[in-house]
């Protein structure tokens, strides 16, 4: 118990205070060793983070926009996909167990492998996706997905492929808890498939789906590994999400203070969905005995 509390305090509270303090200083690779004595610059880093653009030509504000667009878009796309997938394996049939296992495979593949795999999928002239799109006449086989504005879509498509199972798992658990009698009653009342889905099933899953939406947005906002591994350094401006911007500012440009200011901004933004998440959790149900 006590080791746990100490570790939590030491590992989260202390770094947070350091981040706040560093964000008011000017720390680079030369002053890092004596960072406590680095010159005090006040809110200069915050001004630079929000207004200025660095070598990547993306300001923190620009990255924030990309991150929000990416996480909201991904969540909106995977929600119907996840619900549909859960509906296909809700009732038993031959091969259902196998199908359920298969549905999990993209989700459990490590993100750095997913990133490399989809980099190959999008490769001009070679990638399977480019071949497929050109075969049905939608795009040229030499489409450059990995540079320029299209890279945002490459990143989003990859993320959708990798994470839809998150919604699927949560919805499937919810579906399994709806008693069969409710369906039978609905059937007696003459409901068809669509009415059963929209009047019986989905209303009961509403709370669960809201929670899944919130969590999914939260997780994807923090996505770093996918764009970092998929696009290399420096990444196209269109995929420079906030975590990636912080990383590059700190460890490629060695502007640790600007990176800290961006980190603090990130945390403040994350407090909003985080607060709603904690409100939605009903801890009593999980731990009450």
């Amino acid at each position: 118990m006590w080791p746990n509390i100490v570790v939590v305090l030491l590992i989260v509270a202390l770094p947070f205070l350091i981040a706040v303090y560093t964000s008011f200083l000017s720390v680079d690779q030369y002053t890092l060793r004596q960072w406590v004595g680095a010159p005090w610059v006040g809110f200069e880093n915050y001004v630079e983070a929000l207004a200025g653009s660095n070598v990547l030509s993306v300001s923190a504000l620009g990255s924030l926009g990309i991150s929000v667009a990416f996480s909201v878009l991904t969540t909106l796309i995977i929600t119907p996909i996840g619900i549909l997938a859960a509906l296909t394996v809700n009732t038993s049939f031959r091969g259902r167990a196998l199908l359920r296992s298969l549905y999990l495979v993209p989700y459990v593949i490590p993100t750095f492998v997913t990133a490399l795999l989809w980099r190959m999928m999008f490769l001009p002239n070679t990638g399977l996706l480019n071949r497929a799109l050109s075969a049905i006449g939608l795009a040229d086989v030499n489409t450059y997905w990995l540079v320029g504005a299209k890279s945002f879509w490459a990143m989003t498509i990859t993320e959708v492929w990798a994470v839809w199972a998150f919604i699927y798992i949560m919805v499937l658990a919810g579906l399994q808890s709806i008693p069969i009698e409710q369906y039978e009653v609905a059937e007696l009342d003459g409901a068809n498939s669509w009415q059963k889905l929209t009047r019986v099933v989905l209303p009961q899953l509403r709370g669960l789906i809201y929670l899944a939406l919130l969590l999914s947005t939260l997780f994807h906002f923090n996505n770093f590994t996918l764009p970092f591994v998929m696009f290399g350094t420096p990444p196209p401006a269109a995929v420079t999400v906030l975590p990636l911007n912080i990383y590059l500012t700190s460890f490629n440009l060695f502007d640790f203070s600007l990176g800290s200011a961006m980190s603090v901004i990130t945390l403040i933004i994350m407090l909003v969905p985080g607060f709603f998440y904690l409100r939605m959790l009903r801890l009593g149900e999980v731990t009450s005995r």
């Binding site: 746990n4 199908l99 795999l117 290399g232």
Partner: protein, 286 residues
């Protein structure tokens, strides 16, 4: 045969959806496997089926990517951090699930809140902290095993504790009470009664704690040196090196990717029954 009343989709829609899902999942994976046995010069030449199966990609990659070292480093770092995390988590979770005390709920909430702390927010302060500790006392953290181990504990510990709390809450308290009545001490009851019963939960906590480190690129790329690089960073560095090269070694890169993903996928398939609940507990997809 009468249709199951729970079936909400008309059969054609369902079969169509299933075929769509199966293709969308298997085709990219099949493409990865195909590329991994394609000779490097042929990738990018336009043909899909290689002239011969280059199974030697799986042999050559061990020397070009330094996979062996990455694999060993990943096993050591993730093994230590997950074992320590689960050991602490069982104790903490036992107290949290069996005793009511002031601050219990704030503590439980903080476990959840820690799952949603942006990892990147911790990266810089941790780096600054580690480098000043290194300057102050002769205990190296950056570029060693202990740096990443401590970092992964940050995330593995609350995750493992939370998973154990939900598991221990499902074990009836009467079993320990019986042991206590028979004269066992609390610690004995924990060791002889609770821990054996909690083993499936501990497997789940161990697997997810292990994956925290295995899937991480963010911290490992900053806190490791070339000698202590984890598998993920080894692969990321290799792929970055292919960008400017004259002949990218994509075949070997895909082979190495298959080898990195396979243990994780097999682990899930074997323990699927236990793991499914933990998949949504957070932090799994970095």
């Amino acid at each position: 045969m009468r249709r199951d009343p729970r079936e909400p989709l008309p059969p054609p829609v369902r079969i169509g959806a299933i075929i769509g899902f199966v293709l969308a999942i298997t085709l990219p994976i099949a493409f990865m496997l195909l590329l991994s046995v394609t000779p490097d010069p042929e990738i990018g030449s336009g043909g899909l089926i290689p002239s011969h199966w280059a199974f030697d990609n799986y042999v050559k990659m061990w020397s070009t990517v330094n996979l062996g070292r990455g694999l060993a480093n990943s096993l050591v770092i993730c093994g230590i951090s997950s074992a320590v995390a689960v050991a602490f988590a069982v104790g903490a979770a036992y107290v949290l699930s069996r005793f009511d005390f002031r601050g219990r709920f704030p503590y439980l909430y903080s476990l959840i809140a820690l799952q949603s702390v942006p990892h990147v927010m911790l990266l810089l302060p941790l780096f600054v902290l580690f480098s000043s500790i290194q300057t102050a006392i002769p205990f190296r953290l950056i570029g060693t095993y202990q740096g990443p181990v401590i970092t992964y504990l940050t995330f593995a510990l609350p995750l493992a504790t939370w998973l154990m709390v939900s598991y221990l809450s499902s074990i009836p308290v009467e079993l320990e009470e019986a042991a206590l009545v028979d004269g066992a001490t609390r610690v004995q009851a924990l060791r002889k009664v609770v821990v054996p019963l909690a083993q499936p939960g501990m497997v789940v906590a161990l697997v997810f704690s292990f994956l925290v480190g295995w899937n991480d690129v963010l911290f490992a790329s900053v806190l490791t040196s070339p000698d202590t690089r984890t598998l993920a960073v080894e692969l990321q560095t290799f792929s970055a090196a292919q960008q400017g090269g004259s002949l990218p070694l994509y075949g070997q890169m895909m082979g190495a990717s298959v080898v990195s993903a396979l243990p994780v996928v097999i682990l899930y398939m074997v323990f699927q029954r236990y793991l499914i609940g933990g998949l949504t507990a957070g932090g799994v997809k970095g």
